[in-house]
Symmetry: C2
Subunit: 172 residues, 2 copies
DNA sequence: CGATAATTGTTATCAACTATACCAAATATC
DNA sequence: GATATTTGGTATAGTTGATAACAATTATCG
């Protein structure tokens, strides 16, 4: 141990005696984030949590998580694909994709069909109900979720943000 | 069920017959992301994973996770605080913070000291070793991790990105 | 052709992270 | 001084991510 085990709280370094440029935080109240505010990963994680939170709120009437929504979107845009292809594209491991599909299939949003060519693979298709739910979800996401994002950031910033995040997701 | 249970794969909608503006993806190869590329939350999550991945690589010699690094940073900037204050600031639930602190304390990076004022709370302090590790971690993060981010994005974009993410993390 | 390798969906399992309820000790409130 | 609140902690459960292994099927190649 390199420190004494009891702290008289008077040991706190005297702040605001010498008037240093310090973020607004007294001995009480909010803590200083320090270089944490400059850590991209930190803000990235915090922003992601907030955005997902809002997504869940906006699409709550349809009971869809971001991951489930992304699956439905992908199935719609890529008919005739099997589980491995969809899972890989979304960065979901095949074993973990099974339960996810079970949930969607049990709600009659999609279905597995045996491929005629390869009897190992399951071709994934949206059901009519799946298509309907996806359509409603798209509207909720566009009109409530993304709309709010654009409102907060401004359209230009929103586009720039999207571009930078995509760049990071790819080339980083 | 609204769909037949077997799929002759010939049902795939004919693409590239009519020359539509379509992202580069044939019947084989990469799948089309569709409106997924426009979903901010999607790129946000993907970017966050990549950035954390790189953080872990860069700071691997010190065996620090992003969460652990953020705790050390906060302890350094905010001496004399207790577990609840640190945990709350980082969005960590107090029960979950216990094991995290145990791990850091077992590595002699920080220590809990009973407060003289309030015998319930544990004042958290960095040990000398904790300060040393933090100093090394800061350098690794700045020179390897953040440096690479700035290189990929460009300094101006990096700053703009940080600003927008901070805005989302706060006002959203 | 036939032996061997690779792929697909799946199960089981584990680690990590998140979230809630609850508890004892200590402190605050009235 | 009775009651409520706070603090650190335990137990626990849910969620997500990751690995190993397996049967069925298909691909590869001698």
């Amino acid at each position: 141990m390199t420190v004494s085990k009891t702290a008289s709280d008077a040991v706190r370094p005297q702040r605001s005696l010498r008037r240093e440029p310090v973020d607004p935080a007294g001995d009480d109240g909010m803590l200083q984030l320090g270089e944490l505010s400059g850590l991209l990963g930190y803000s990235l994680k915090r922003a992601q949590l907030k955005v997902f939170e809002d997504f869940l709120r906006c699409v709550a009437p349809l009971q869809l998580t971001p991951a489930q929504f992304s699956v439905l979107l992908l199935l719609d845009k890529n008919p005739g694909r099997n589980q491995t292809e969809i899972a890989n594209t979304l960065g979901i491991l095949r074993p973990n994709f099974v339960a996810m599909l079970d949930a969607l299939e049990s709600r009659d949003l999609c279905a597995r069909m045996r491929s005629a060519n390869d009897r190992r693979s399951h071709i994934l298709v949206l059901t009519d109900r799946g298509r309907a739910v996806l359509a409603r979800a798209k509207k909720l996401v566009a009109n409530k979720h993304e709309a709010r994002l654009i409102e907060v950031l401004g359209p230009a910033n929103h586009a720039a943000l999207l571009e930078m995040l995509a760049k990071l997701a790819q080339e980083f």
